[in-house]
């Protein structure tokens, strides 16, 4: 393992070394925590810049380019604006619940980020049940949304928070299940073991990522859709849908508390994409053997930026789903598909040691076929086209 790859690990060991014995544990914990908060907060700033420039370019306009070169200081300006803006607490609001909500929206998400391995033996906390811990922290976000909605004592924000919670709960099920499919395949809940299981290369070149297996591909797509819904991103950003309930549960917030909510949302985005990378795209592993020399943490953050670009692209294109379509999609399409994904994995595992010629192809056909047929059947069930049929337009002279 070359020096560059283990740069940060050695750095931390060096710093911890300076301290006397019994202080070591405390110092290493503090360093890890500072690293996580620092890196992801910096990533948050860069992402806001990427999002605004990306959306701009999609819409044929330059995006921010006035504040600093290429608009790079724009996140700083936004942060400053959020700090300077007056922080209004509505007079009728329940002060404690109102002020506690943004804090509760950010803290659990940062805790969840501690579990994701960022590079070769660069993980803050290697929990034996890392995956379950991650989803548990994801669950606490709903409490924060409720407190925000209920605390501000405003009909619109209450309505918005109810919708947000309903959406999060109905998409939490597919999210957790598609995560557990990978845990079933690997046999352990720890994220480090999951990445371990994706080591090695098919035919010496292509990495053994889970995404290159039929059940993995289906699981990845389902996880991605559920993650977009969980992080309230575009096709599912109903809670802050401007065209209906203006800002949903974040209606009565201004100034820094509003920025905190956004920090929470973006951290959720990093968490979800980080987990998708770890579960399906081999965490910090290189896709091809000949690219092994690039340091591991560069792979992780490279994939993370790819995910951020994808979410920005999604946000620039897709319109918003209606509330009932959202729910119908979650319960009638996502849940059955994820359960079938478990069956597909079972098929894949069961036929692992077939002796039939070109067994790999047969296994792909069997397990992948099941998922594809399920997709066609369920998609037809909820597709609007079936209910309405194609359109013909008459032309009078």
């Amino acid at each position: 393992m070359n020096a560059l790859d283990q740069l940060f690990v050695n750095l931390k060991q060096a710093i911890v070394g300076w301290f006397p014995g019994e202080w070591r544990l405390g110092v290493s914990v503090v360093i890890s925590a500072a690293a996580i908060v620092g890196v992801y907060a910096g990533l948050f700033a860069i992402t806001t810049w990427i999002e605004r420039k990306g959306l701009g370019r999609i819409q044929n306009r330059p995006g921010p380019n006035r504040v600093g070169p290429f608009g790079l200081l724009q996140p700083l300006a936004d942060g400053l604006k959020a700090l300077i803006k007056e922080d209004i607490i509505p007079q009728r609001a329940d002060r404690l619940v109102h002020t506690l909500a943004p804090i509760l929206a950010v803290v659990p998400v940062i805790l969840a980020l501690a579990v994701i391995p960022v590079g070769r033996n660069m993980v803050a906390v290697d929990l034996q049940a890392g995956l379950i811990f991650f989803f548990a922290m994801g669950g606490v976000k709903e409490i924060a949304v409720f407190m925000a909605g209920w605390g501000s004592r405003n009909a619109y924000s209450l309505l918005g928070s109810m919708r947000a919670i309903a959406q999060m709960i109905s998409y939490e099920m597919p999210l957790v299940l598609s995560g557990l499919v990978v845990a079933m395949a690997v046999g352990s809940l720890s994220l480090v073991d999951i990445i371990e299981a994706q080591a090695g290369y098919y035919g010496g070149v292509l990495a053994r990522w889970h995404v290159f297996t039929p059940w993995g591909l289906a699981g990845f797509l389902l996880f991605l859709v559920a993650a977009t819904a969980e992080a309230n991103r575009t096709p599912f950003d109903l809670p802050e849908g401007e065209s209906e309930i203006i800002a949903g549960h974040m209606l009565e917030y201004s100034g820094f508390k509003y920025a905190l909510f956004f920090l929470g949302e973006y951290m959720g985005l990093f968490g979800m994409s980080g987990l998708a990378i770890t579960l399906f795209l081999g965490g910090w592993r290189a896709p091809f053997s000949f690219l092994e020399w690039i340091p591991s943490w560069m792979w992780f953050f490279g994939k993370l930026f790819a995910f951020i670009a994808f979410f920005v692209w999604l946000r620039g294109t897709l319109p918003r789903l209606r509330a009932d379509q959202l729910m119908e999609f979650a319960w009638k399409f996502m849940l059955p598909m994820v359960l079938l994904d478990v069956v597909a994995l079972a098929l894949w595992q069961y036929t692992a040691h077939w002796s039939v010629p070109l067994a790999g192809l047969w296994r792909w056909v069997l397990s992948g076929g099941l998922m594809f047929v399920a997709y066609l059947g369920l998609a037809r069930l909820i597709s609007p086209r079936r209910r309405v049929g194609p359109r013909t337009y008459r032309f009078a002279e």
């Binding site: 819409q59 319109p319 509330a323 609007p384 008459r394 009078a396 002279e397």
Partner: protein, 420 residues
């Protein structure tokens, strides 16, 4: 000039429904005059269905007046039972500027710049409607070149209006303004052409009684030809955005259906009426201006829901491009205004006249009564978006709030015209 329109227009309105065998969506089918179709008897308007007994208590929500998705200052008092809309009362008048009373105190020429501000998206077609009414009142003749210029500017405003409307729909549905920016990118080119011709981008004040104010600047026709030639590329882009976007189809199919009888009874005109399948386009019915010289077709919808209304706008843009190409090809030289017309102290003979055109939003009409003085005695405007708005509640009942926003967008209202 087309034959003066006598006032049994109601007779024409009733017989104006053409029923042609359905054709696939191809753009170059041979054009043939439709036989007069079945008449739509005035079906008594169905009593609005009794409000179903609500189980939970009703939630009274007021959307607007400065809600981000009500195009302008417009409020909807919506009574919600859970998610479903039970009752929707539009409230407007926030932009009322006393346009008609003001019209009675200003001279005929002085009213022309005010018509720009009626439907501020298509000022040139407003000017044309007012000029048409005054010419009918005074019996003026308009030279050939001015007629061609009027058709070109009217069709360009139709392109502007329809493209930004489709952009606004997708914006209402949640895309962060991306299609809106594409629509505005095309709109800017056309507005630059208007500025080169009339001096202002949106408040053109260009038509005069008996022709146009100033002749085409050199090079203007080539500028418009380039715009018109690469406009279809943009329409294909928009049509692809509309037809292959699964989320959009899910949200607009079968939403806000307007039955044909209700449309006729409520006096809806324009693309909303044609989306419900009724063949009523003033350019074909009245044949005002020189529209009878151009070959173009009128698209008709099938189900009358929001998706159909938007496809109408896309198909009408294609037809406008065809008209523009023909008009640009054979625009003659010659004077742009009838020199005998007096500019100041213009006093038309006593009488009344009703001039109407197919504005992008529907039938825009000006009704003038002149008592021989310099100022009109009565100056009345038939605002198409206001009348199309009356059926908003019938379309929205039973849908959710998110749909009401889109249905309102599909009705295509501009508050300047609704409130006058």
């Amino acid at each position: 000039m087309s034959k003066p329109l006598d006032f049994d227009a109601a007779e024409q309105l009733a017989m104006a429904t053409g029923d042609v065998e359905p054709e696939q969506l191809d753009h170059d089918a041979p054009v043939s005059l439709p036989p007069p179709g079945p008449r739509y008897e005035a079906v008594p308007r169905a009593a609005s269905p009794a409000i179903p007994e609500p189980e939970g208590e009703l939630l009274e929500v007021s959307v607007g007046p400065h809600h981000p998705s009500t195009h302008g200052v417009f409020r909807m008092n919506v009574v919600l039972d859970g998610e479903k809309i039970v009752q929707l009362k539009p409230v407007f008048g926030y932009l009322h500027r006393n346009h008609e009373k003001l019209g009675e105190q200003t001279t005929y020429l002085g009213n022309m710049p005010y018509t720009d501000r009626l439907d501020y998206f298509c000022s040139l077609s407003n000017n044309w409607a007012y000029a048409l009414a005054v010419e009918k009142l005074a019996g003026l003749k308009v030279p050939e070149r001015a007629e061609y210029i009027r058709v070109i500017t009217a069709e360009l405003t139709r392109l502007v209006n329809h493209s930004s409307l489709v952009g606004f729909l997708l914006h209402d549905m949640g895309t962060m303004g991306t299609p809106l920016m594409y629509a505005f990118r095309e709109r800017e080119k056309i507005l630059d052409a208007f500025e080169a011709l009339t001096g202002a981008r949106m408040m053109c004040n260009y038509h005069r009684f008996g022709g146009c104010r100033v002749d085409l600047p050199p090079g203007w026709l080539d500028q418009v030809r380039t715009i018109v030639d690469n406009f279809p590329r943009f329409i294909d882009e928009m049509e692809r955005l509309l037809s292959e976007n699964e989320v959009l189809i899910a949200r607009t199919h079968g939403v806000g259906v307007l039955p044909p009888e209700l449309a006729v009874n409520a006096g809806v005109t324009g693309p909303s009426l044609r989306a419900s399948g009724i063949n009523y386009d003033l350019r074909k019915v009245d044949r005002y201006g020189i529209y009878d010289r151009f070959q173009f077709r009128v698209p008709l919808g099938e189900k009358g829901d929001v998706y159909d209304r938007y496809m109408m706008r896309i198909l009408e843009m294609r037809e406008s491009v065809k008209i523009l190409q023909q008009a640009l090809r054979d625009i003659p030289e010659g004077p742009v205004i009838d020199p005998k017309v007096r500019l100041r102290n213009f006093t038309p003979p006593v009488g009344e006249a009703y001039g109407r055109i197919e504005a992008p939003k529907g039938e825009l009409g000006f009704y003038l009564i002149s008592d021989g003085s310099k100022k009109p005695y009565r100056y009345r405007i038939r605002p198409p978006s206001f009348i199309n708005l009356t059926v908003l509640e019938d379309m929205c009942r039973g849908h959710t709030l998110a749909d009401a926003v889109i249905i309102l967008g599909a009705v295509d209202i501009v508050l300047g015209e609704v409130d006058r």
